[in-house]
Symmetry: C2
Subunit: 382 residues, 2 copies
């Protein structure tokens, strides 16, 4: 298969590029380094520096029989994206080319405007490019479980049948996102659904929960191929932040009560889900939505697990509750479905003590790099 | 009240500016002339030329005791908008500053991109401006009934209680828009709801059906104060198109079967609804959604009414079905509620033969201006 990965320098994009190349696919990875730029501008550098995309691709190729073609460019620029799609002629486009930080989207006017415009225009360009240059191409789009928010009813996979006053119809599951970033992903879904109906595009929209982890098959013996690993308040997902705090010997900072529940998954399962989606394309004019997570935890449960894993390594990891910078319900019902990927064959890698110990160990080995001041939330969301 | 009208040169904006000024309010009208520019570029000029906003305001002031302050600028430019809001200090902002044509949004890539970016960034800027410079200001936003599409269940006013697997919650009513323009209005509603929750803004979001009509209290004796009246395939709403076709003695062109049902209202009732909304602001952090129409008709019913009114004037108006350029259900259930404005005191002006005869008469008086080639749809939507 010819697979074009947009956002191929990212936490998910780079491991995905290597993963698909190693599986024998022809892979082109595109990135504009926006995440690197934002991290530099905001003192939010990852735990260790990673080579730029073109260099990573050279390192990967030198140590394997596989190749990732790296292309630097901005997918929000239609001329660039259309040229890339025309020349590469993909069977599938994995669209990860978005500003991925919810806190950044709530930081100030400029960050909010950038998030809104970058994410929506990139998705708009991807849809138009497929329509004009690759109408049979399968769009695999990364959405987020955060699009749904925390409703008081079970969260289905994308759609819901509503009965109302004796009649019924099927709709997109109602969305109530908690940040401007998540709102931009709701817009993506709505925009995709509109053009899927209008043009008959085939799309898998993957509603992913927060991802944790570091090592994948291609990087575990070669640290220079690891993805960027953020632990800061902007880009660091919660479990990765806790692991770094534990490694640094500072308390794990839980936002508010920590009873907020979300669905999580290991980075290796993100790759498995992308593979399953790519291997099972939906039909023409079909928008297939899959919820992408393997387990649900409250924030406090995550902290307790890290604490236990750290204890197993002879380390003390404390938990400290701090004022919640986010505007979110701390006590809420949460029962999301995730049957679709199981039906396609997903074999989950669960959050075991071993998984956590491996992450903590690695963070400890880099503890000189840790700047704990980057972890504390620097602003409130309202 | 100090009322800032964004899009004050438009079909609704200019009559609203005069209406609120005549009622004793302090009115500033802002426009960037985008609709005039798009009409010029696409051979979609209105039935008669209208003076530009500043000149209209002078004519209005010369013939009355009232004043509309005209300001030319682009609300998608945050610096401009923030300056206008800071200096005017409005109690209410009536936000009509959007690219209003569904067909234009489906014409090509550039028109689609402009619609998406103009509409979303303008709404984004309005919300940020209120947050930063006028937090108590009441935002009155023009949405569209087209956000809902044509679901198989009754359309409620903005919200719906959903029971699902033994639990229930309240959500925004599901949206399924039929054009990219309508999709941009769905985004507006979602963006407004997000920032209303986050910042406590007060907002009335008015889901309006297609508007017809021409004369309002302020313009009926002074034709130079009439709003722009479009009858072309881009900006012309369906009833206004039929009236002009009848006046020109050419068949009224019905898209497909013409059994598509929508909720309609007279321009004078738009003014009445805006007045009722402005006089009854919602509380802080409340998003009040009102459906804004007075009667529902199928397209064929509208054509039959124009035919009958024309016959009353001794004119023959034929009906001709043409291929539907839109992608829409022609046979569908449609039962939208509109209780909110009735409860606030709306007294509807219905679509009588007299109303139609007055419109046809006026169009006949300008029949030398009519270019019937502008009416035929110039492209299909998919």
């Amino acid at each position: 298969m010819r697979i074009l990965i947009l956002g191929g320098d990212g936490y998910l994009g780079w491991p995905a590029a290597m993963h698909f190349a190693a599986a024998g696919h022809t892979v082109q990875a595109v990135d504009n380094y926006a995440r690197r730029r934002i991290a530099e501008e905001n003192n939010a550098q990852p735990l260790f520096a990673t080579p730029e995309l073109e260099q990573r691709a050279r390192i990967f190729q030198a140590g394997s029989d596989h190749r990732v073609e790296a292309v630097i460019g901005d997918c929000a620029d239609y001329g660039f994206l259309a040229g890339a799609v025309r020349s590469f002629s993909p069977d599938a486009i994995i669209h990860l080319a978005e500003q991925p930080s919810a806190p950044y989207s709530m930081m100030d006017f400029e960050a909010a405007r950038y998030t809104l415009n970058n994410n929506l225009n990139t998705t708009f360009n991807v849809l138009w490019t497929i329509h004009e240059h690759a109408p049979q191409c399968h769009l695999i789009k990364l959405g987020t479980m955060g699009e749904y928010g925390t409703p008081d009813i079970d969260i289905e996979e994308g759609w819901i049948d509503i009965s109302h006053k004796g009649r019924s119809d099927r709709f997109l599951f109602p969305r109530q996102p908690g940040s401007l970033y998540h709102t931009s992903k709701v817009f993506d879904t709505d925009l995709i659904w509109f053009y899927v109906r209008t043009w008959g595009i085939r799309c898998s929209d993957l509603m992913q929960g927060p991802v944790y982890g570091l090592f994948t098959e291609q990087s575990k013996q070669r640290p220079e191929l690891l993805p960027n690993f953020h632990y800061d308040d902007l880009f660091g997902t919660v479990l990765n932040r806790f692991v770094v705090q534990a490694a640094a010997g500072v308390p794990m900072t839980v936002y508010g009560k920590g009873s907020q529940v979300r669905g999580y998954l290991n980075l290796v399962d993100t790759l498995q889900c992308l593979t399953l989606a790519a291997g099972n394309p939906p039909g023409e004019g079909e928008l297939r939505i899959l919820n992408q997570f393997t387990e649900t935890f409250s924030v406090v449960e995550l902290a307790e697990r890290v604490k236990a894993a750290a204890a197993g390594l002879g380390m003390a990891a404390d938990i400290k509750h701090i004022a919640n910078p986010r505007k979110e319900r701390e006590e809420h019902y949460y029962n999301p479905r995730s049957d679709g990927f199981k039906a396609l064959g997903l074999k989950p890698h669960l959050l075991t003590a071993d998984v956590l110990a491996e992450m903590i160990d690695y963070a400890v080995s880099l503890s000189d790099n840790i700047d704990v001041s980057r972890i504390h939330p620097r602003f409130a969301w309202s």
